[in-house]
Subunit: 289 residues, 2 copies
Amino acid sequence: MKIRHEIYDLAILGCGPAGLSSAINATIRNKKVIVIGSEICSPPLHKAQKVANYLGIPNESGGELLEKFMDHALSMNIEIINSKAEAINEVNGIYSILAGNELISTRTIIIATGVPYRSTLPREQFFLGKGLGYCATCDGPIYKGKDVVIIGHSHEAENEANFMAEICNKVYFLPIYKEPGKVDPKIEIVKSQPVRIIGEEYVEGLELEDGVIVKVDGLFVLGAETAPDRLIPGLEISDNHIRVNRNQETNLPGVYAAGDCTGPPYQIAKSVGEGQVAGLNASKFSTNS
Amino acid sequence: MKIRHEIYDLAILGCGPAGLSSAINATIRNKKVIVIGSEICSPPLHKAQKVANYLGIPNESGGELLEKFMDHALSMNIEIINSKAEAINEVNGIYSILAGNELISTRTIIIATGVPYRSTLPREQFFLGKGLGYCATCDGPIYKGKDVVIIGHSHEAENEANFMAEICNKVYFLPIYKEPGKVDPKIEIVKSQPVRIIGEEYVEGLELEDGVIVKVDGLFVLGAETAPDRLIPGLEISDNHIRVNRNQETNLPGVYAAGDCTGPPYQIAKSVGEGQVAGLNASKFSTNS
């Protein structure tokens, strides 16, 4: 575990349009900013063939736009790390963010993590904490010497699967994204779609599309965006999105949200605008705190 | 008076970042859109030497950005007229907008008129309708054969001053903007700053910085942006700005607002984002109405 001893004014979760807009606006206000992003900053935008409604840049692909956005942020020497916030807690007005193997301290947070993850399996929420988990490094040790199945939503899940392979008896890995990379040869790759969780009170297995049931003690859903209210306990959610007011304030002091995670329309200009408002208001808050 | 007989889906007041963003988004939704703008679409942005915080376009002057924005809108063949809304009323869900000498009918309106005009003279609001007016073509005829003083906020005031020169006995014109153009030679140009309105119940004159009192029957403040709640009766204002929710809806059905007129921060990305949300929601409303 690496601990960053300096306290940031602002930590931004997400490097899509909302996150980067927050970052440039707070940086212009001379704030110490860190962006905790992932490899692809906005998967939905990355896939857009053509974007015509971001005023001033009439006709580029989503990928080209993202590159322009990233170039803008990098031209201001903004610190961007490729990592993912896994847990956040607050003591005396300072938030500690566990991201990968780092601990980051900050006065304010902007959540800009994009379209929120929705449970995809029936009764997924019921089994949460009853054999189902979203963080291997957090809950993994419970399954030492046992069998688990991992549903991987992105390449990020591979590292976590490898971590589990070291401590578990047997790891099944079910990648539901394109072109999965290599994992520990001890891991058994499953090429099917998950259909439902087997079990009464606790997870006992996972039924697949082809009818096969994988019998396990634990099920992990990894590499998907962590639901914000699991990340920051007490964060108010409304209709699966983070509840914010017109200042982009959430119900928690010093915690702001911007972009798709605050609700539709899922559009770039809306995200960039909200990112700006969040960035300016977080800057003001960090000065006064 | 020219009456446009077709009914627009959306009329946008203002051609700054919020107005143009609304326009491109509604046009992409195949809506029939008209933008009622002025010669300089966003005077504060037009003056900005450098803008660094509009994500994706890192380093241009305000003027260059405005040009990019306008080019984007024109590339979509959006109809933009150089005029100003002076009065709006609603019958059976259709709004009629009096703009210059045209009457425009529309299902929805987006107000994107920028930083709201603030009364600058003491007791200005008190004298409104008691010898003080904001629209020459509306109230002018009352002053036929009488003396009036006009405080001009922009070049737009010159046409109105010329109109008054035709009907009044004497017109004093006090331009408080840079490089005023030529007006009717019958008009007496006053080169001083206004200090206070003279009168008890009605306007009797205007006191100037140099101590001179111009005795008149009427006072007009022209070429400034019309306060939105004077434009649309019943529009809810909060702290001098149009009250909107996160959908950019005002308290009136089919009427949206975006950008500086909804409150600070007075920033481009915020305006463009709000314009997008207003444009998309107005499009939806016009489809259902």
